[in-house]
Symmetry: C2
């Protein structure tokens, strides 16, 4: 954290403060002039950036819920707290914030400092009929932290950021007990003195928390093998409205369905994750990376398939299609780029990289650069662009450019069709919706032996005032396409509220019944993140009240 007092581009707050409306910190956001310059690169973008409203000028709704005296010291209804906890960071969130629409603001932001505080908040909320939206650092891009229902007496945003400690380290088993509110950099800083690392680096790393990663099954650093945070979990501790759910610390188990797997991906609907024992890695001492260029994208896909099925498990294996590679500035026109990386704490990795490059060459790839310890410029260039992207997205939003990212996964047999169909059809949709020619680019973020996880980026000039409506149309079309192609609605961005239409169609109906029943059992008052994943008022949620089990005489 710097101490600089250079003012941010607009809005209120000191430069290293978190932006209330957009990504990250105020000082990293693009200035008005930078936004305007960026807009000039997109034909059809607005001429001037949307202004950023000052918090004091926002028309926040009346506070309906007053804190009980025991919890009052933890609660805040300060305008900045309420405004910054109204939305996550989806495009539509940023646009609505820029429009000054904070009508869905929580009544209170509550910041527990202990697990007992979390319990007390849930007890009070159930009693007072107040919805509770668990909030890590608010990086959701799927409406995961935004309250949209209105049947409750009010809503509080449960901000877990004060629970940010690494509580215990087991160096023998290479594991640590970590509180859910720890941001990526904070938990890594606490592990570093021990030579250990969680090595989970989502794009949101700086501005997302362990608890958020666990609740949403976040995708991380590793492009193969341990792709989701799920794989790094040894045990979870979850405060549910009916009690604390703590699983044993186990390296593996076969005792019934995994308790942890019910809470991983539950997105705050079944309980509040307060801490977890996480599997750690030793810090890698050997690293090597390389960039491979392909003239033909489908040949590159075949190369990546070969890599994913080779058992070589590269840490990095990102394939950028021509549009994505051009945007990142790492390739010539029409070329696809594969970024490969290997790492180890124990042994040199050069031989493994050589084997990977041989596979790439077999499929027509040309290694361009590479070497040990990050000597690979293209990979570095791409990584820096990668971390900067959310700030650029916000700048594009201010220039009324519609941007949407969505990601999925499918098996290899369907990957070429998925790529072509989504790009082709979505390009048409963008033209229909915006009247302009947009771009639809793709990269593979994670790959498995049986298929890739393609990540699409849509960019098109919008019409001022209609950005959200356009985004909604494009998002909806993307979900329809993925559904028709049998691909998942999300590989690692979660479901939240925005992906519900796709998720509801994808989820097997008996599982919906089981999940709804579990929800009722754990959250009988239905206060936890209503509207995310499952809808308590939907038929599927209520039809599962069986008659037979009400009659004890029929129970075997």
């Amino acid at each position: 954290m710097t101490d600089s007092s250079t003012p941010g581009p607009s809005g209120s707050g000191s430069p290293t403060d978190r932006s209330w409306w957009g990504w990250g910190t105020v000082d990293q956001a693009l200035s008005d002039a930078e936004c305007t310059a960026l807009g000039k690169l997109i034909p059809g973008a607005a001429d001037t950036p949307l202004p950023v409203p000052d918090v004091p000028a926002l028309a926040l709704p009346k506070v309906r819920v007053r804190p009980p005296s025991a919890l009052a010291p933890l609660m805040s209804s300060a305008p900045r707290d309420r405004a910054s906890h109204t939305y996550g960071k989806a495009y539509r969130d940023v646009l609505r914030a820029l429009a000054g629409d904070v009508s869905a603001a929580p009544d209170q932001v509550v910041r527990p400092r202990t697990e007992q505080h979390v319990i007390d908040v849930l007890d009070w909320a159930a009693e007072a009929d107040v919805a509770v939206v668990p909030y890590g650092a608010g990086s959701s891009v799927v409406g995961g932290v935004e309250y949209r229902a209105d049947a409750r007496h009010g809503v509080v945003s449960l901000d877990l950021s004060a629970l940010d400690q690494v509580l215990e380290i087991d160096r023998v088993s290479r594991a640590a007990r970590i509180q859910a509110g720890a941001l990526g950099p904070d938990l890594e800083a606490q592990l570093r003195p021990y030579g250990l690392t969680l090595r989970h680096f989502p794009q949101s790393f700086e501005f997302s928390t362990l608890g958020g990663w666990l609740a949403t099954r976040a995708g991380g650093h590793y492009a193969t093998l341990f792709t989701h945070i799920d794989d790094l979990v040894e045990s979870l501790r979850v405060v549910t409205p009916v009690g604390i759910n703590e699983s044993l610390r186990l390296p593996g188990s076969g005792a019934g369905p995994s308790p942890d797997r019910l809470f991983l991906g539950s997105e705050g609907t079944l309980g509040v994750i307060t801490e977890a024992w996480m599997r750690l890695q030793e810090r890698p001492r050997h690293k090597a990376s390389a960039t491979v260029v392909f003239d033909d994208f489908h040949a590159a896909v075949e190369a990546v398939r070969a890599v994913s099925q080779s058992g070589l498990h590269p840490a990095n294996c990102r394939l950028l299609d021509p549009g994505e590679a051009a945007l990142a500035g790492v390739a010539q026109d029409g070329e696809s780029v594969l970024v490969l990386g290997v790492e180890s704490a124990h042994a040199p990795v050069d031989a493994r990289l050589t084997e990977l490059l041989a596979l790439a060459r077999d499929h027509g790839g040309t290694p361009m650069s590479g070497g040990p310890d990050g000597g690979d410029t293209a990979a570095r260039t791409w990584r820096s662009a990668f971390l900067r992207m959310p700030y650029l997205r916000d700048a594009l939003a201010r220039m009324s450019v519609v941007t949407e990212t969505f990601e999925t996964a499918c098996t290899w047999d369907r990957a070429p069709e998925l790529y072509e169909t989504v790009r082709g059809r979505l390009t048409e949709v963008v033209r229909e919706v915006t009247g302009a020619v947009g771009t639809v680019n793709c990269r593979f973020t994670h790959v498995y032996a049986d298929g890739p996880a393609p990540y699409f980026t849509v960019i098109a000039p919008g019409r001022r005032g209609a950005e959200v409506a356009m985004w909604d149309e494009i998002k909806s079309a993307a979900m329809d396409l993925l559904h028709d192609l049998g691909a998942t609605v999300t590989h690692h961005h979660a479901v939240g509220r925005d992906h519900r239409p796709g998720y509801d169609r994808q989820r097997p109906e008996p599982f919906a019944l089981a999940l709804g029943a579990a929800k009722r059992a754990l959250d009988p008052a239905g206060i936890l993140n209503p509207g995310v994943l499952i809808d308590p008022t939907a038929p599927a949620f209520n039809d599962s009240k069986p008659a037979a089990f009400s009659d004890p005489t029929t129970v075997g």
Copy 2:
């Protein structure tokens, strides 16, 4: 399958027939003379083997349930079918069968030939109040296929062995759609022409099915990385009483809690798995293995920990403690033995084996033999003993020797204490229970970066007629020990009915509520495998009927 007509040692049936009372096929069982010779090796064993009852002489209970006419062609109440489907293959199962106790025999054995048959059976059973016990090949050692309740009008064993086909192969994604009733050798035979393999080889491989592996989260071939069948699942198809649950074929997903993970380990209580898309491997072309001897077991444990945390992912990494190694005939007195194996379909593996052996040497190990392609005699010797073990267990049972195997997992920090405490305390328990000096040996079957999966074998001379009671006491003491040590009640043998006391204490209470609620939602009549995993009559199962959600006005 051979055509030999040499008669089996006793009992009825042709030699390659499955044993109705014990492991495997009749022709592989030890003869009376072999049993007697084996007994002489265990001081205190009986002088003569327990006789094997002939099926016609068994006092099977009256058949309470007659098949409806539509299902009659699928059902059998033949004595041999009923007797062979009464139990799994736990020690107590074998002993009770030898005692002629088949009082828990199912009324009917039903063998669906199509998925529609499965649906029809469940519909009929719910209507007729008949319990349904899904049955793959009956290798459960935890009471998973034995009906113990008596509140129903009857019970059928749902034998899925006719659903044994590989239905579809996707060579591009390396996956296959396989029916749940396929035995290990049968499904491998169908995959072999394509150069592919599931490579899941539990000890029960010959006599267990894909559906059984999935329902019980079986542990397989790989000692590291893809240890459980869970990791090889792309999608599941499950017939539940409320409908078919089919998940998308996906290499990975982050859309809510994993639907498949609810059914993996559900042990037939939530539905009947009828087929699955499974991730396959190419058949390995490069293999190497080696045996390392250690004077000190705890040094060997440290070596295995180093291996598990090295990222080298050996396919085999079995550590035998001195007792286990002596029993398998692969080491001198007091020595521990580590069997290491590496394999790859693509590249030579010798360098990796060399790195593994270096780690073993660093911890005081002495490589004894080894080389490419199964040149390692000790490993071969051990593997052959491993596959023969269940037959020996049956022979010991006939000599009234009490044998019990149980397996667990814990983190590395607790592994030495677990090993010493379990061996020490259980040796005392065995003396208290049997009055004799028994042996308690241990091997690690699977290892993870954060801990091992220790597998214990107890052998002690019992008292004729009291074998089951003695076994129950030892089993109960073992479960208590594991619970006190914070280790799981099972790493890959499942819960069934025998592990319920340990599982009920281990499972977090809120998860128990969620699982009970899911059970009621999917199996409203409570017909599926009653008593396994959850008890429909237990308070935890019934206390989760929330009041709030019955009142729609409070639903947000």
